[in-house]
Amino acid sequence: MTVPTGWRATQIVQGIHNSELKPTDVADAFLQRIAEYDPVIQAFATVEPDMVRAQARWLDLQAERGARMPLHGVPVGVKDIIDVAGLPTIAGFEPYRDHIADRDAAIVASLRSLGALILGKTHTTQFAVGDPAPTKNPWNLSKSPSGSSAGSGAAVPAGMAAIALGSQTAGSMLRPAAFNGAVGFKPTFGWFSLEGVIPLCWSLDHLGLYGATVADVALVYDALVTARDEPAITSPGRPKIALLTEFLEMSSPDVASHIQHVAESLEGAGAIVVETTMPESFEHVFAIHQVIFAAEMAAAHSANLGRYSEHYGPRIRTGVEAGTLIPAGYLVQAQRHRRTLSGVFDRFLRGFDALLLPTVSTQACDRAETGDRRFQVPATLLGTPALSLPTGLSSEGLPLATQLIGRRGADRELLGLAGWVTSVVPLIDGPELEKLG
C-alpha cells in the first residue's frame, strides 16, 4: 500500500495494526519525501536510508508474527543533541561530526521498544542555543524555522516525519512549533529522561514531542509514560481557562487579535475564560530564568569552549563567557526565588485547567534570528507542561500559535484539554511545499 503524504502517526499505527500497511511502506514513503524536499528545507542533519529500511524490515517481521506495538512503524526524527546508536551526534558543532553514538539515548531506546521507526537526526542550533541552524521554514524559505529544535519543528509540518523529538531549555520546543505550524508538547520537567542527551542547563533542560495533531502527540506520550500515575486523557467538561493579558500587550497586533479570537471561540463553546495576569511579574520570572540559564550554560560549556573556541558560534560563545561572570550568591538567590515561584504558580494553577497565551509574540521572523523566547520561558522555568497549537495564519500566511500551560504533573489533563480546544479551533493545514519553488 502507498502511504499518502501527510499521514499521521495515529493513521500509520492503525494501518499497521489492521495489516493494511507495512512498516517498510512507511519507511519508503518518508524516505522518498525526505529525498524530495529535504535538500530545500534541510530539516535533517543525518539520514541513513539503509538503517531505516533495516529497522522497517524488522518491524515488518514483528507484524507478520502478530505483534501489535503501540507505536508500530511511526517514523520519528530525533534532534541532533540526542544519541541514536550508529549515527553521529553533531549538535551543530563540527568537531563532533565523527562522534558516533554507541547506544541510544533512553528516550530513543524507549521509542524503538514501542515500535517506532527512527528516521534520522534533525538539525539543531549549535548545542541548542541561539546561532541559527541551516533549516528553512517550510511556509516561507526566507523565514526562520526558529530554534533550537529547528529541524524537528520543520520536519513534521513538511511531512518528512510523523513525530519528532526536540528539547527546550528556554523556548526551543514551543517556538519552532509555532513558527513551523506543528503541535509541540513540552511535558513536566523530568518526565522524559535526559540520559544520552547533550546537556545545556541541567535544571532547565526538557525533552518534548512534535506531531501534526494533538492525538498524535498524545499517542506517543501515552505510550512513553504508561507506568505513570496520571489520569487518562479525557476531554474536560467545562474548562476554566486563564487568559494571561500581559502577554497580549507584549504581542504584535496579529498575534494578540488571534489569541483573543481563540479565547472568544472557547468561551462560545462553553469554557469559562478569565482575563487575568500571572501571580508574579513577567520581568521577575524572566530574570530568574536568564540568570540560571547563563550560569548553567557556562558551567556546561566553559571547558569545551576553551578547547574549541574557533568552532563555537558567536551567540553561544558570548552567552557562555558572560555566564562565567555571575557571582555565586546571585545564582543561589535566583534558585531560591525559583523555588518560591514554583509554589506560587502551583497555587495559581490549581484555580484553572490551563493558562492561555500566545506561544510567541510574533509570527516567524527572518532567518538571521530564531525569534522571541520570552513567552515560552515561564513553563520552562516552572517545569510545567506546555503545548503549542497552530491555530491560525497571519496576514502574511505564516502560522500563529496558541500556548496552553497546565499544572505540573497533569500532562494528560493538558493533552485532553488541548484535544477539546482543537475541536473548537481547528488546527491549520500544513504548508504546500510544492509551491515553495
Binding site: 530574570a287 536568564q290 540568570v291 563567557e321 558572560a322 538567590q333
Partner: protein, 68 residues
C-alpha cells in the same frame, strides 16, 4: 560584589565589566557589552527581591518534586 536589594544595575554592570576585563581582556569585554548589559539587568531584578529565608534549603533545580 554586594549582595543586597539596594544594589543597582549600574553597580552590577561595573563589577561584571571589571571581572570581564580581568578574565577576557578589554577588547572582548567591549564585544560582550550587550550581553553584560542584559545580564546586569537580570541580576539586578533577582537581587531586588528579598529572600524568604524560612523555606526549604536551596537545591539545584528549585522545582518541587511532588505533583501540584
Amino acid at each position: 560584589m554586594k549582595l543586597d536589594p539596594t544594589t543597582t544595575q549600574a553597580e552590577i554592570k561595573a563589577v561584571l565589566r571589571n571581572q570581564s576585563d580581568l578574565v577576557y581582556g578589554a577588547q572582548r569585554t567591549q564585544e560582550l557589552a550587550s550581553q553584560i548589559e542584559h545580564l546586569s539587568t537580570m541580576l539586578a531584578e533577582v537581587i531586588r527581591r528579598p529572600l524568604d529565608l524560612t523555606g526549604p534549603a536551596p537545591d539545584s533545580s528549585g522545582i518541587l518534586s511532588e505533583r501540584s
